[in-house]
């Protein structure tokens, strides 16, 4: 069978024009599909960036919260109530809000501010410069060195700025797992300082971060938080809730889906038509092979191999092209929010398999129908 597959390979790749057209079709389709999906994956990942970066096992919030940026303050007594639930190892408040900072050159820049529990600093990011205990110093803030960092004028330790006419000083530079979605730099400070510096509504706790004593305590905690009129979600549930919001309650998911389907249709039509034309042009030769003594299953193997080889080569090229584009774009635009995930690759792979299957199905039908007798009549 190896010889027959090699024959199929040579028939395919030696027809350079057709092979190139097939590859371009599939590569382009894969490129578009991966590009769309990776952009969506990037958006979803960044939309949940604070959840990943803070790293708490459970988050308590108002039931109306849909995204991590969309906070609704909770009264202080809820913190005490959560701490008293059986199975809670500890619970700490988190402040999450936005502000405008005035930089030393007089310009203003929007920032996201996270206020960590003063006692434990739970959820603090790892520092790459400075010491975490300096966050207790007067006016102290830690800046995250992510793709938005340069928007604060590439601050160093000691750089000063103003927040609501309060002086702020950078005492540490941190790194995080993921940058935020909205293109604003992130500052960390203590919970108390966040309340002191930023204008606040009546209720000030954005989230309560909870660590259960064990996995088995999670359902009880969720149930008792619900009894308080609030909602407790595990980290993954919160990420899913945010993803669902962007997927189903904004136009982003629908538009990405439409673009992905369009890419698939373009790839399917270009590749299907080209492959079918390739087979049609070789139909007499397939008929000759049949007359000589090739069995139907051998011809099917040949066509499936040709379609599969083209599809997988195009898949690899499409991924490579997309990875190059994303890498290049991130070099120029650090905030470019695209990431290729295994899920993206799997979806594109399934679509490529469908393209190859449909293309080869049409071709196989045609080849099986040809009568070798027609070769004599030609």
């Amino acid at each position: 069978m190896r010889g027959i597959l090699k024959l199929a390979y040579k028939l395919l790749v030696k027809d350079r024009a057709k092979f190139a057209a097939l590859l371009v079709g599939i590569t382009f389709a894969v490129f578009l599909m991966i590009q769309m999906l990776s952009m969506f994956a990037g958006i979803l990942t960044r939309s949940s960036a604070p959840v990943f970066n803070v790293g708490a096992s459970m988050w308590v919030m108002d039931p109306a919260v849909q995204t991590v940026a969309n906070t609704i303050g909770m009264p202080d007594y809820i913190l005490g109530a959560v701490r008293s639930i059986q199975g809670v190892a500890y619970a700490v408040p988190l402040y999450s809000g936005g502000a405008l900072v005035k930089l030393s050159d007089g310009t203003f820049q929007s920032v996201s501010i996270l206020g960590l529990d003063d006692t434990s600093l739970f959820g603090r990011p790892p520092l790459i410069e400075g010491r975490i205990e300096d966050i207790y110093a007067e006016n102290a803030f830690v800046v995250v060195k992510d793709s938005e960092y340069r928007k604060l004028g590439n601050p160093r330790i000691g750089t000063e700025f103003q927040v609501n006419d309060h002086r702020g000083v950078i005492v540490g530079i941190a790194k995080v797992a993921s940058s935020g979605l909205f293109g604003v730099p992130t500052l960390y400070t203590t919970y108390a300082r966040a309340l002191q510096y930023l204008p606040n509504p009546r209720f000030t706790i954005s989230y309560i971060l909870v660590e259960p004593k064990s996995e088995s305590d999670v359902p009880r905690i969720k149930q008792q938080v619900k009894a308080l009129g609030y909602m407790a979600l595990t980290k993954h549930e919160f990420v899913d809730r945010i993803s669902d919001f962007y997927k189903y309650q904004t136009g982003i998911g629908t538009n990405i889906l439409i673009m992905t389907v369009m890419s698939f249709i373009v790839g399917l039509s270009v590749s299907g038509q080209t492959f079918y034309t390739f087979v049609l042009e070789n139909l007499e030769r397939f008929g000759a092979l049949k007359a000589i003594g090739a069995k139907s299953r051998e011809l099917i193997f040949m066509i499936l191999f040709q379609a599969g080889f083209t599809a997988l080569t195009g898949y690899g090229l499409g991924i490579g092209a997309c990875a190059l584009l994303i890498t290049g774009a991130k070099l120029r635009l650090p905030s470019y929010a695209s990431i290729i995930t295994y899920w993206n690759l799997a979806v594109a792979f399934v679509m490529v398999v469908i393209i190859a299957t449909v293309s080869s199905y049409l071709a196989v039908r045609r080849v099986l129908r040809i009568e070798p007798f027609e070769i004599f009549r030609s």
Binding site: K10, A288, E371
Partner: protein
């Protein structure tokens, strides 16, 4: 007494249905023997190619039987019939039907590859057959770089590469000029034909009759007699 290679009995074949039905073969019977170079001649539409297709196992007759080397081929399943053709019958098509993207050696190697021979081994054997048909040194060229006569020789090399007992040639001179066609058939008679092989040729070309051991004429779906040699 020569051994029978092909025996067709009362073969009937029609195309189309109803008023459009055409009888291509009307109870045709034929014996072809080893050591015979049998020509089937006749006007267009007389049923020559249909008869050739039926006796070589690529077109199922409506009625009648066909035995090749004693095997009733139309009782075989499609895979066994394909395998039978591969091992017993070589084909030379009118338009050669060579693969233009493959080299001549790769074209000749096709029956060997279908017989599951290793690729490199098949190519070496194919080169040997190219030597036999006088195309030494052209093994790595694509067929399009060859003349019509050379392409016909490649087709012949491909047909004999599987060492078939029976060689079927459909209008072997139709795509060639007179001299080249004559030379090709002379070559077949001299180098390919032997006492252990049966060659059946369908042709319009009476300039090559001299190489036949027997010439049978067809008209309107009947074998009407012999122009040379014995009866059908």
């Amino acid at each position: 007494m020569p051994q029978v290679a092909i025996q067709a009995k009362n073969v009937v074949k029609s195309f189309g249905v109803g008023d459009a039905r055409t009888m291509a073969l009307r109870e045709v019977s034929l014996d072809a023997y080893f050591g015979e170079m049998l020509y089937i001649v006749g006007p267009s539409g007389s049923g020559k190619t249909t008869l050739l297709s039926v006796v070589s196992g690529i077109l199922r007759p409506d009625a009648g039987t066909v035995a090749v080397e004693g095997t009733s081929i139309w009782t075989l399943g499609s895979d066994r019939l394909a395998d039978f053709r591969l091992r017993k019958i070589g084909f030379v098509f009118q338009d050669f039907h060579l693969f233009p993207r493959l080299t001549t050696a790769e074209n000749v190697a096709i029956p060997l590859i279908l017989k599951r021979q290793q690729w490199h081994e098949a190519i070496e054997v194919a080169k040997g057959y190219l030597d036999v048909v006088g195309l030494k040194g052209k093994a790595d060229l694509p067929p399009v770089k060859l003349s019509g006569g050379e392409q016909q020789r490649v087709a012949i090399a491909r047909a004999i590469a599987g060492q078939p007992d029976i060689l079927i040639m459909d209008e072997p001179t139709a795509s060639l000029d007179g001299d080249t066609g004559h030379a090709i058939v002379e070559f077949v008679r001299t180098h390919i034909f032997n006492e252990r092989r049966c060659i059946v040729i369908v042709t319009h070309d009476n300039r090559i009759y001299e190489f036949a051991t027997r010439v049978l004429r067809m008209e309107d779906g009947h074998l009407i007699g012999a122009e040379k040699g014995g009866s059908p």
